[in-house]
Assembly symmetry: C2
Homo-oligomer: 377 residues x 2
């Protein structure tokens, strides 16, 4: 690891002092009396921490007024749970004081410190979550996040060539899109920024002048309310029918309880009067779980009929403001019909951030291409 | 009541013997030592019982080989719960013996007898339920039910003038239709016939030569898979959204539990990734219940946003076999668009017996007319 950093510092013409500091840090971790768990967390954090030090040194070498600030000194206080830090509320008050700083403050991501002063890493989301926490703490006007793509595309670029880019996206839209293949961001990383109402701009590290994609709480109504089309395969549907189901208080709740007992999250529950389907990710189900679930449904709900349908794909047509635009469902269903794809399921809530369609997996590319053509072509 | 019966028997030129028998029956009820509850049940049953006696006498006077058979003698054994009889399984074995009878057997509807020999009435469905039970017991080829309409229409005749009649309907289709305005039959009355797989023919008492509508378990695929369009108003939607709801195991189940605790059946639960709507009948909700439900949702589910949308209408496009027909969703959504009606909600399960659309109540007639035009025009 040190060789890699030396390569970087040499290229950036920085003094060896940075490398010496990193080496001293690693040596100190091994020499400490901390538990192996804590040592592991400290080692995992070394990469992010060292990069912050390198960046800070580089900024200074360019003449910027920059300071490296350790998360402890920044006041990022987390739970005492190595490998899965939870941010503590007091951090935000501590961070707010950073507003008084006039220099560029470089804070390494991915870790904070427990009240007893131990380094603890976050479980997921890496630096993104620290960025989001700091932005929320200082009540930033904007949180710029540099990643490796120019912007978020309105459709999966492996299905449609050179699709349009999304310039503005709401949090809700991003969630609906990220659900099915749009994994630019780790969702949980955005929670602090989302709660503090701070816009997030996703930019490309290798093309910083590109406009990127900005994620906001609210946006102006658009001429075309559809911002993107997401799709994912690997779903199954459990179908249950029973004469007079509709009159049976608690039927749906009991069905969901059976799934919950097996630790299964459901995705959607389209229903008729006497039937209900529960759509779940096939990956969340083992053969044994499936058998237990079906057996319990038969025993506890006494249905007329139960079946499992496999190889389903879900397609989400996403956009806030779809609720005030006439004819969008007409357009979307027409796209499926044009592509000769049968719609197995439809689901659209009163929010109308999205319309969900369930189809057979082998038709997903045909359907997505046809939808793209109709909404963005 | 006796005067009304005397009028009938006089017109049918029947002997006074029938009237004397009815009077003796009523006198016996008042003279008995039974509880008031049981006396009430016996009195309620007098109307149906007397009509069966009158019908039997009339059939005999026309020269038919007919017999009046009391439910006790027919073997209709029910639970000892006055006003809400539940049929006991042994009844079906008893009734099967009636197959040996060569004459027309006239059995009054609406009541059976407990094991201790007391007369007990059914709670709902009147004679329909007895007819359904007897048909199941004798394993009939057909259960003809005489009502006051020629047949079931494919759409509400108060919305569309002279709509088409439905000749064949499956049980599932009838259930979906009867849900929203097609209340020809009391659903529960059909359970025994449904379970025994017996076709039910609905005919008009005043036009017995009309072909009526036949309800079957299965039917051949049709050229137009849509059999009917049902609609009803008076629905509300409770909308709940929460960032990352989708990751929260048990969220939907908890929401349904809150409703169940208030005794509320939900109709549909369209959902997005981070939001879910529960559609319920406004009549099932009091102001107090609504307030308690909203308060519990806020407290127990910690959502970002909760709202209630009122004045919703549901429209069901119904037909078995819709699942194998391409383009039906396209046709349906096009009908809404043509009528300039915005679709607030869509829901279609994997069964595809129906597609459900939620719209604003004041647009329901426009939408139904447009759908009728497209599917039956």
């Amino acid at each position: 690891m040190l060789d890699r950093f030396r390569e970087i510092t040499t290229k950036l013409e920085l003094s060896d002092y940075v490398i010496d500091e990193i080496r001293a840090g690693v040596d100190a971790i091994f020499a400490s009396n901390d538990s192996n768990e804590l040592k592991m967390d400290a080692l995992k954090a070394t990469g992010e921490d060292s990069l912050a030090k390198v960046l800070n040194a580089y900024l200074q070498s360019l003449g910027f007024n920059a300071t490296y600030l350790n998360p402890r000194d920044a006041g990022i206080v987390v739970s005492d749970t190595p490998g899965s830090a939870q941010i503590l509320e007091e951090s935000y008050k501590n961070l707010y004081k950073l507003r008084d700083r006039e220099e560029i403050v470089v804070i390494p991501g991915f870790f904070g410190y427990s009240k007893s002063g131990k380094l603890i890493t976050f479980s997921r989301g890496g630096s993104d979550i620290t960025g989001s926490i700091v932005a929320a703490g200082v009540k930033a006007d904007l949180y710029e996040n540099f990643t490796d793509v120019d912007s978020v595309f309105c459709v999966n670029p492996t299905i449609v060539d050179n699709p349009k880019e999304i310039t503005t996206l709401t949090y809700k839209e991003m969630r609906e899109l990220s659900y099915a293949g749009f994994s630019v961001f780790h969702d949980e990383a955005l929670i602090p920024a989302f709660k503090a109402n701070i816009p997030v701009c996703i930019k490309n590290t290798n093309n910083p002048t590109g406009i990127g994609t900005i994620i906001v709480s609210k946006k102006e109504p658009q001429l075309n309310p559809v911002v993107g089309i997401a799709s994912d395969t690997g779903f199954i549907s459990i179908y249950v029918s029973k004469y007079l189901m509709n009159r049976e208080l608690g039927f749906g709740r009991k069905l969901l309880t059976i799934l919950e007992n097996e630790g299964i999250s459901f995705e959607h529950t389209p229903s008729g009067i006497d039937d209900i389907s529960v759509i779940i990710r096939e990956s969340s189900l083992t053969k044994e779980k499936e058998e237990r679930i079906i057996a319990r449904i038969k025993e506890e709900l006494d249905p007329d009929y139960v079946s499992v349908e496999r190889d389903l794909a879900l397609i989400m047509v996403v956009g806030e403001g779809m609720d005030s635009t006439l004819g969008l469902a007409d357009k979307a269903t027409h796209a499926f019909n044009k592509a000769q794809v049968n719609i197995e399921m439809m689901n659209q809530g009163s929010s109308e951030v999205s319309m969900m369609f369930g189809i057979k997996s082998d038709k997903v590319n045909d359907a997505v291409k046809s939808l793209y053509e109709i909404f963005f072509g």
